[in-house]
């Protein structure tokens, strides 16, 4: 490239800066959009990949049905393909909290030294968002909250419901939240399914693995050695991972066999041990029973002996008694005899006395005789007295003897009585002992039987032991990853549509500009041709000029596009993800293709324009080009109308049909602008509709209360609901998670079965969107949400395959489709539910309408609710609504960007059009000014054409915008999200107005240029 050549180009640029800028700007816009939109998806994916690499996101994770032993882990880490791994114990459980009720929680048990930060996490490194790392095993970390995960505060206490599912797995069951983390595993605001509770994960916590009462690991997270270098969305990565997964699955089979043998062996050992124990127990029981029986027999014999002795005692006593009586009688008889003898002696003595006395009286006897007789008598009395004394003594002795004997007998009788009591006691004991014996015997027998049954059961179980399996899952199984991949794919789909359009407009702008430039320099062209320059040599300058403009535009477009367009879309993604840092590298391949295609297009049109001029003879080229002949147009035939037009209106009418290039360029550019604007405002409408219709018109309840599954509302809750003045109305329903299967797709949905079908419509409006016709579960027992219907292309009458939370599969025939924007739902009548799943739909949720409440009042109500028995969870839908505010904000942001792009497009095109028109009609305009036309009149003449083209472009832009809007909306939708389908009239108005404002702005700028036209210069000879 010679210096002269460059100089000539630079001079040309300086002479026609406006034209150069127009090509430059439109190419910058086109290339910027092309490169920016193309690189958006790769950039986003690169950023995620970088984030994954930085955080050491697992490439695969293994879930083992029978757990992973230390040995398994060791084998895995010995694999050369494994870079690092993290064994973990993972389970979903229900957790009670003080402020937030019962939550479905995933508990990750991780090695303590990695949890407390002594060592870095081997895999899935988190970023600490708030708080600190745990210092004791009673402390835990919690995953950052989002639309689906609850935002628990630091210091919150979580108590695992131990009688719930998996609740028995834990050694520690109470944890205090000390830190909030963001893990790469959970970076999207997407709902994570769970098979516990209501089927959706609400909390993720990280605790020490020692909190589990398990000696194996359930999961292991693996970073593969080579995958770090590969881009996670690339085919190479995919291939690599396929091989790796296959290798792991193979290993899994191997290890599972070992694990089977191990578990089987352990089981067998335990079984043997149990059997031995049983035998021992049987023996011991038999022995103990025999001993007990012996004791009973002994006791019985002793009792019999005691009886005999007792009976003998009775006999002896009776005998003794009769002997005593006999002896007593004998002794008394002897005593009585003695007494008689004494009486006789006394009588004899009395007689002797009397005879003495009589004899004395009669004096029959002398004193001596009397004396002798006296003496004899006294001797007799003495003898008698001795006899009486002896008798008395004998009597006393007898009495004493008798008393003694009596006492002895009484004693013997007492002894016998005691003996009898003891005997009775013994007998009772014997009876009891015998009963005890039989009972014990039965018990032992039962115990042994159950032990035998247990052993048999265990033996059977052992025989039926299933082969353990390793589920090897790659990143596609990660909800966040999968969602990100799908959404970036959508961006790619949108990214291919826009830039093509911009490039097309760029080509038209260059065509118009270059044609004009060559027109201006046709004389020069003619001279050169006449002088014998080749076509190529003549073209060089124009190709250089246009190439320079395109190249400069491309460079600016690339630099800006690569940097800012991905950033804008990234910003929009921020409403769905906790996004990492965005990387926007300069992508040479895209840069080359974008620049190349822009250059090629502008060059082609330049060559085309040159060729057309150069095909003329040099002579005709050197002559001023005969101005394009004015042509009559159809309109002139309507003479009555035509004659009423002013000259400038007539000229405008003819110009419109004369310059086709200008027409297409302007109409396309302006239509593009209007279409973009309409799309932008339409998007805003769509989001607004979503937020308003969903949270005001469709969901007409404010509060959901979940409780333990039951047929009716728990009494306490019912009372509370009726007493609360803030609660206006409520209805119970059954709600659960469902999974809809279609080919290889799997879509999570929520099944609702109202208890009261007639009042349900008060809480959730079921209606067909297009017609607004209300739907009724009685008439159409299976109503699915439009989100689901669109995602799976379901129509009324279609059959869908569904699995409910209890993993019961069923087929449902869609009866109707109800308007719904957020979330996916299936509404079933109770009978339809029962018919499909073969079980009753028990209510577990209350939908309630409340008076409008401030957040503080809502919180108060919620904490009151959670105090109630059986209430597991309560939530205001405001919380779900808030998560859309962010989305709305980012769409607003996107709309601003779209407005800017649209404005740029329209302004460049219009600027170029007016610029060319002014250049082309400089003499004409000067003539008008010479003739005394006012500035406004000249501007009117000039801009009327612009105005009409703008109007046509705007009109064309409306249907175009509608199509574009529909396309973008379609791309943005998912099974959980439908956007408003229609564009508000006001948006059309805004799009039109803004397009006109852009056009007016350009006209305003160009009016200055118009005023600066020098009449004097223009009157001179034709260049």
């Amino acid at each position: 490239m010679s210096r002269a050549y460059l100089k000539s180009i630079l001079r040309a640029v300086r002479q026609s800066l406006a034209r150069f800028l127009a090509i430059f700007a439109i190419v910058a816009l086109g290339v910027g959009f092309l490169a920016g939109l193309w690189s958006t998806t790769p950039d986003m994916r690169l950023s995620l990949d970088t984030y994954y690499d930085q955080q050491r996101m697992a490439d695969v994770y293994i879930k083992a049905t029978m757990g992973l032993t230390e040995e398994d882990i060791a084998t895995l880490s010995a694999l050369p393909e494994v870079d690092s791994l993290l064994p973990a114990r993972v389970a979903d459980v229900l957790v009670d909290t003080i402020d937030d009720g019962r939550l479905t929680t995933r508990v990750y048990g991780l090695p303590w030294t990695q949890l407390n930060g002594e060592q870095p996490l081997a895999v899935n490194q988190w970023q600490l968002v708030a708080g600190r790392l745990p210092e004791s095993p009673e402390e835990c970390l919690i995953e950052q909250g989002d639309a689906y995960l609850a935002d628990l505060e630091l210091g919150a206490v979580l108590r695992i419901v131990t009688d719930g599912e998996n609740g028995d797995l834990f050694a520690t069951t109470e944890f205090t939240v000390v830190g909030v983390v963001a893990s790469p595993f959970y970076f999207s605001n997407e709902r994570e399914p769970s098979n516990v509770g209501k089927g959706r994960l609400e909390v993720v916590i990280y605790v020490a693995d020692s909190c589990y009462d398990l000696d194996v690991y359930t999961d292991v997270y693996i970073v593969s050695a080579a995958a770090t270098e590969l881009l996670t969305f690339s085919d190479a990565y995919e291939e690599h991972m396929e091989a790796f997964v296959a290798r792991l699955e193979e290993l899994g089979e191997e290890r599972s066999n070992l694990r089977y043998a191990e578990i089987y062996g352990e089981g067998q050992d335990e079984l043997d041990k149990a059997r031995a124990e049983l035998a021992e127990a049987e023996e011991e029981a038999a022995r103990e029973l025999a001993d007990a029986w012996q004791e009973i027999t002994d006791a019985r014999r002793q009792l019999a002996e005691a009886r005999i002795e007792l009976d003998r005692g009775y006999a002896d006593l009776a005998e003794a008694r009769s002997k005593l009586a006999h002896e007593k009688a004998e002794a008394e008889a002897q005593l009585a005899e003695k007494e008689q003898e004494l009486e006789q002696a006394r009588q004899e003595l009395e007689q002797g006395e009397a005879s003495l006395a009589a004899a004395l009286q009669a004096g029959l006897i002398g004193p001596a005789q009397a004396e002798v007789m006296r003496q004899q008598l006294d001797q007799g009395w003495e003898q008698y007295q001795i006899g009486v004394a002896a008798l008395e003594g004998a009597k006393a002795e007898l009495t004493q003897q008798m008393a003694e004997a009596e006492a002895q007998l009484a004693q013997a009788e007492l002894d016998l009585e005691r003996g009898e009591r003891e005997y009775a006691e013994g007998l009772r004991e014997l009876v009891k002992g015998e009963a005890d014996y039989w009972r014990a015997r039965a018990e032992v027998e039962a115990e042994l039987n159950s032990a035998r049954a247990d052993i048999e059961e265990a033996a059977r179980e052992l025989e039926e032991l299933e082969m353990p399996t390793w589920y090897v899952l790659d990143r596609n199984a990660n909800v966040s990853f999968a969602s990100f991949e799908i959404n970036t794919e959508k961006v790619q789909a949108i990214a291919t549509v826009f830039p093509v359009f911009f490039l097309l407009v760029a080509a038209l702008v260059s065509l118009a500009s270059m044609t004009r430039m060559i027109e201006e320099e046709r004389t020069q062209l003619g001279i050169m041709k006449a002088l014998g320059y080749s076509k190529g040599a003549i073209m060089e300058k124009y190709i250089g000029y246009c190439g320079l403009a395109s190249l400069a535009g491309s460079v600016v477009g690339l630099v800006v596009g690569f940097r800012y367009i991905p950033a804008v879309i990234w910003q929009v993604f921020a409403s769905m993800y906790k996004l990492p840092t965005l990387y926007t590298p300069f992508r040479w391949s895209f840069a080359l293709v974008a620049t190349g295609s822009a250059l090629l297009l502008t060059m082609l049109v330049t060559v085309y324009a040159c060729n057309r001029a150069l095909s003329e003879k040099p002579a005709s080229l050197m002559r001023p080009r005969p101005p394009q002949a004015g042509k009559r147009i159809l309109l002139e035939r309507v003479t009555s109308l035509w004659s009423r037009l002013t000259f400038s209106q007539k000229a405008t009418a003819r110009n419109l049909f004369r310059y086709k290039k200008h027409f297409y360029m302007t109409v396309m550019g302006v239509a593009g602008c209007a279409a973009l604007l309409l799309t932008g405002f339409g998007l805003q409408n769509s989001i607004d509709v979503l937020a308003n219709a969903q949270f005001n018109a469709i969901l007409q309840y404010q509060l959901t209360i979940d409780y333990a599954e039951d047929v009716s509302i728990p009494a306490q809750l019912e009372d509370w609901l009726q007493q609360q003045e803030q609660v206006l109305a409520y209805t119970p329903a059954h709600g659960e998670r469902g999974t809809v299967y279609q080919e290889d797709r799997k879509v999570y949905t929520t099944i609702y079965v109202p208890q009261d079908e007639s009042s349900f419509a008060q809480f959730i409006a079921l209606q067909e969107r297009a017609s607004g016709v209300a739907l009724d579960l009685t008439a159409s027992p299976v109503i699915i949400s439009e989100t689901l219907a669109r995602a799976l292309r379901l129509q009324p009458g279609h059959v869908l395959a569904i699995e409910n939370a209890d993993e019961i599969k069923a087929q449902l025939t869609v009866a109707a489709i109800t308007e719904n924007y957020v979330g996916s739902y299936i509404y079933l009548s109770a009978t339809a539910y029962e018919a499909a799943f073969g079980q009753e739909a028990k209510a577990n949720t209350v939908l309630a309408q409340t008076v409008p409440l401030e957040t503080a009042a809502q919180d108060e109500l919620l904490s009151a609710l959670l105090q109630l028995k059986d209430v597991e969870r309560a939530e205001f839908i405001d919380q779900a609504k808030h998560s859309f505010d962010h989305l709305v904000a980012s769409i607003d942001f996107l709309v601003v960007i779209i407005i800017l792009a649209a404005g740029a497009l329209a302004m460049i095109v219009l600027y170029n059009l007016i610029n060319i028109n002014i250049e082309e009609r400089r003499r004409e305009l000067a003539t008008l000014r010479v003739l005394g036309f006012h500035n406004e009149e000249v501007a009117g003449y000039m801009f009327r054409e612009t105005a009409i083209l703008t109007a046509i472009g705007t009109l064309v832009g409306m249907p175009l915008g509608k199509l574009l809007h529909a396309f973008v909306i379609r791309q943005a939708e998912s099974s959980d999200l439908m956007l408003g389908q229609s564009i508000e009239p006001l948006s059309y108005l805004w799009a039109v107005l803004l397009t006109l404002v852009f056009a007016a702005l350009v006209c305003l700028v160009m009016a200055r240029k118009l005023r600066q036209i020098q009449m004097v210069d223009s009157m001179k000879a034709i260049e």
Binding site: P627, G630, F647, K650, A651, R654, L931, M1019
Partner: protein
């Protein structure tokens, strides 16, 4: 009437880098009403400059320009536009017709905007284009186009007609007839006409001839008996 057009010490300079070009240097002359005035001089003498200043297309740097009672040199931009609109008719060397309008429409273009225009059709008839008035400029010969241009200037019914080399691009006969048209219009309506030409022969038909040289008025001649155009040969 005396001194219909007055130029008094009018200067117009162009600064071209170091060099100061004096396009009009202390130009002083007068023209009476109804005169047919011819301005002659070598190329670059300043003829166009003077005519443009008189026509309100260009401003002078100093001096006084007056047309009848209107001091052109003191008009504002807006007043100049009105002045051009109502008082002046221009005829250019290259016709400067609007290509997209027919002959009639080109005339109407001018007549539409001024106070008491002549009927466009009549004017076109007058210039001898009665049967070509619905043709576009591209369909007309140079002479015919210049006639349209003259018709356009006349239709405005201006006080003064300024013609910058109206025959420059025309052949002898056509040029002659165009000049005749201008002369006739001057004589018939008493309208002042100024014609710039390189053709010295044409000075014979003028009432007044202004000779210019290097931006200065070299000489002003008055012809008591101007020759009719038919009698002039060159």
């Amino acid at each position: 009437m005396q001194d219909y057009v007055v130029f008094q010490d009018v200067c117009k300079y162009y600064q071209m880098g170091e060099q100061l070009i004096k396009a009009a240097d202390q130009v002083t002359f007068t023209i009476d009403q109804g005169e047919f005035c011819v301005m002659v001089g070598p190329s670059g003498a300043g003829k166009t400059t003077i005519l443009n200043m008189l026509g309100g297309m260009d401003a002078c740097d100093s001096g006084l320009i007056r047309l009848e009672d209107c001091v052109v040199s003191q008009l504002t931009e807006k007043q100049l536009t009105d002045y051009r609109r109502h008082e002046v008719g221009f005829v250019f060397q290259f016709y400067n017709l609007v290509q997209n309008l027919t002959a009639l429409e080109n005339v109407e273009l001018a007549s539409e905007i001024c106070r008491n225009p002549l009927d466009p059709k009549e004017v076109l008839e007058m210039v001898g284009l009665a049967d070509r008035m619905h043709n576009f400029p591209a369909q007309l010969s140079g002479g015919e186009q210049q006639r349209v241009a003259i018709a356009r200037a006349l239709a405005k019914n201006p006080k003064i007609l300024l013609c910058d080399e109206p025959t420059g691009a025309l052949d002898y006969e056509t040029g002659k007839s165009v000049l005749k048209l201008l002369h006739d219009s001057c004589r018939q309506t008493g309208r002042t006409v100024i014609v710039i030409t390189h053709n010295q022969a044409l000075t014979q038909m003028a009432d007044r001839v202004i000779h210019l040289r290097s931006g200065r008025v070299a000489k002003v001649e008055r012809n008591a008996n101007p020759l009719p155009i038919e009698r002039i040969e060159w």
